[in-house]
Amino acid sequence: MEKKKYKEIVDKHTPKENILVNALTAFTIGGIMGIIGQGLIEFYSYFLTIPEKEASVCMIVTLIFISCLLTSLGFFDKIVNFCKCGLIIPITGFAHATMSAALEYRKEGFVTGLGANMLKLSGAVIIFGVVSAWTFSLIRMLLGVI
C-alpha cells in the first residue's frame, strides 16, 4: 500500500487530542502558579523583610524544593499528567525533570548514574536557555548601539 494511502487510514483511526481543554488547563494552572510565585515574593519581602530581588530568588528556591519533594514522594508525575504544560513550563517542570532523572539513575552509581544522567531531560533547557539568552542580549546590545 502506498505511503499516502496508509497515512489516510492511520489518520482516520487516530483520536484527536483535546487541544483546547489542554491549553485552557495549562493556562489556568500556569496562571495559578504565577499567583503562588507572586504570593511567595510578597510573603518573603513583607514578613521576612527580604529585599524584593532576593525574595524572588527565595520564591524560586521554594518552588523547586516543593516540586522536588513531591517528585520524591512519588505523586508529582500524576499532578503533571493532569496539569500538563501549566506545571512543565515553569521552574517546577525543570525541577521535576531533574529530580525524576536523579531518582531513576541513582542506582547506577553517584558519578556514572546520578551525575551523568541527572540533566538528561533538563540539560537541553540549560543549553538552549543560555544560547537564547546570549542571542537576545546580543540583539539588545546591537539595537542599543544603533
Binding site: 494511502k5 496508509y6 487530542e17 531518582l103 531531560l121
Partner: protein, 325 residues
C-alpha cells in the same frame, strides 16, 4: 515462510504478572501476581529478571522436575539483560532472541523447529516490565509526562512454555515467520500504526501458504496493536487484501480494563500476547470453546537513536497456529 510441525505440543505454561495485569479483567487466570512493581528487588532491571525466574519456578513446580534441554528467551531490555541475568544460574543451554513484542511467538516457532533427539524439552520465556521499559525507551519513571491517547502501556509480566513432542496441552500446528516491514510511521507514541502492516502481511502470507481462509480460525489474535491499531489493521486488511477480519481480537485490548485503568490505548510488550494466550485462551481451548487459534504477536523494532535520526520505525509479526487436542 510457514513451517508445518509434526506432533509439537505446548505441554505446560506459567504466567506471572504485576499489579495492573492482576487488576485487569483476566486477573484470575494468572498463576501469580505481584502487588508491587519492585517485586522485592532493588532495581527495575532486577524486578524484570525476577519475572522470568518466578515463571520458571512455577513451571518447574507444575512439571515436577528441572529436566530441560534448552531455553529460548526474549525481552525488551538492552543486550537482553533481563533474560541473560535471569538464566545466569540455570546451567542449561540458552538462546537469547530479540523481536521486540513479537518475541513470544518467535520463541515458540524456534522451539518447534529445534526439537530433536538432543533437545526433547525446550522452554521458551519472555518478560517485560513497565517501568524498566519506560526508563529505557522513554522518560524516568517518576517524570511521567503527558502522553497522547494512542500510547500503549507496557505490560509487566513473565511467562514460560514447555514445548516437546509429548501429546499433552495445546498443539503447535504451524508457524509463519514475519518480514521486517517499513510502516513509514515515525511516531513513537503510535505503535499500533507502526505494527499493523506487519501483522497484516504475516496473516495474509500465513493464509496464502496454508491455503486457508480467514474463517478457518475460531479466533485470530494480534499482539499489542491497541484500540486504534486494531481498527487500522481491520481497515488495512480489507483495503489491501480484501479480507474481512472475522473472529478477531487484539490481546492489547484484552489485558486491561480500558475504561477504568490508566493504560491509554491498551497493553503492549513481549509479555502481552502470551499472558492473554497462555493465561486465558489456552483455558478456553482446553474447555473446547475454541479449537483453532492464530496468534500473531507484533513487534515494533524501535531504535531510539534511529528515530531521533528521523528514520521510520520497522515492525515485524510472527504467527503461530494453535490447535486444541
Amino acid at each position: 515462510m510457514t513451517i508445518k510441525y509434526n506432533n509439537v505440543y505446548i505441554n505446560t505454561t506459567s504466567t506471572v504478572t504485576g499489579p495492573y495485569e492482576a487488576n485487569g479483567p483476566l486477573g484470575s487466570y494468572f498463576d501469580k501476581s505481584f502487588n508491587d512493581l519492585y517485586m522485592g528487588e532493588k532495581t527495575w532491571e532486577d524486578a524484570e529478571s525476577k519475572l522470568i525466574k518466578e515463571a520458571l519456578e512455577i513451571l518447574y513446580e507444575k512439571i515436577g522436575n528441572k529436566d530441560i534441554d534448552l531455553f529460548i528467551s526474549g525481552d525488551l531490555s538492552n543486550q537482553l539483560a533481563a533474560s541473560n541475568y535471569a538464566f545466569m544460574g540455570e546451567n542449561i543451554p540458552f538462546i537469547g532472541i530479540y523481536a521486540a513484542c513479537a518475541s513470544s511467538t518467535l520463541g515458540l516457532a524456534l522451539a518447534g523447529s529445534l526439537l530433536s533427539k538432543e533437545t526433547e524439552k525446550i522452554v521458551t520465556t519472555v518478560c517485560s516490565h513497565n517501568n524498566a521499559a519506560e526508563k529505557q525507551f522513554r522518560y524516568p519513571v517518576e517524570y511521567g509526562g503527558p502522553k497522547p491517547k494512542t500510547t500503549t502501556f507496557t505490560a509487566t509480566g513473565g511467562v514460560s512454555a514447555l514445548i516437546s513432542h509429548k501429546k499433552e496441552g495445546i498443539c503447535l500446528e504451524s508457524a509463519t515467520i514475519g518480514k521486517v516491514i517499513n510502516s513509514n510511521i515515525t511516531d513513537v507514541y503510535h505503535m499500533g500504526a507502526v505494527m499493523a502492516p506487519a501483522a497484516a502481511d504475516t496473516i495474509y502470507r500465513h493464509l496464502l501458504d496454508t491455503g486457508r481462509s480467514i474463517n478457518y480460525y475460531d479466533l485470530i489474535l494480534t499482539g499489542d496493536l491497541g484500540i486504534y491499531g486494531k481498527e487500522i489493521l481491520q481497515e488495512y486488511m480489507l483495503k489491501e487484501y480484501g479480507i474481512t477480519m472475522q473472529n478477531y481480537n487484539d490481546t492489547g485490548t484484552m489485558l486491561y480494563n480500558l475504561q477504568k485503568q490508566p493504560v491509554y490505548a491498551g497493553a503492549s510488550g513481549p509479555v502481552c500476547a502470551p499472558l492473554v494466550t497462555y493465561g486465558y485462551i489456552f483455558k478456553e481451548m482446553q474447555k473446547k470453546k475454541l479449537k483453532r487459534v492464530l496468534v500473531v504477536a507484533t513487534g515494533a523494532l524501535m531504535s531510539p537513536a534511529r528515530v531521533n535520526e528521523k528514520e521510520s520505525i520497522p515492525a515485524i509479526a510472527h504467527a503461530v497456529s494453535l490447535e486444541a487436542i
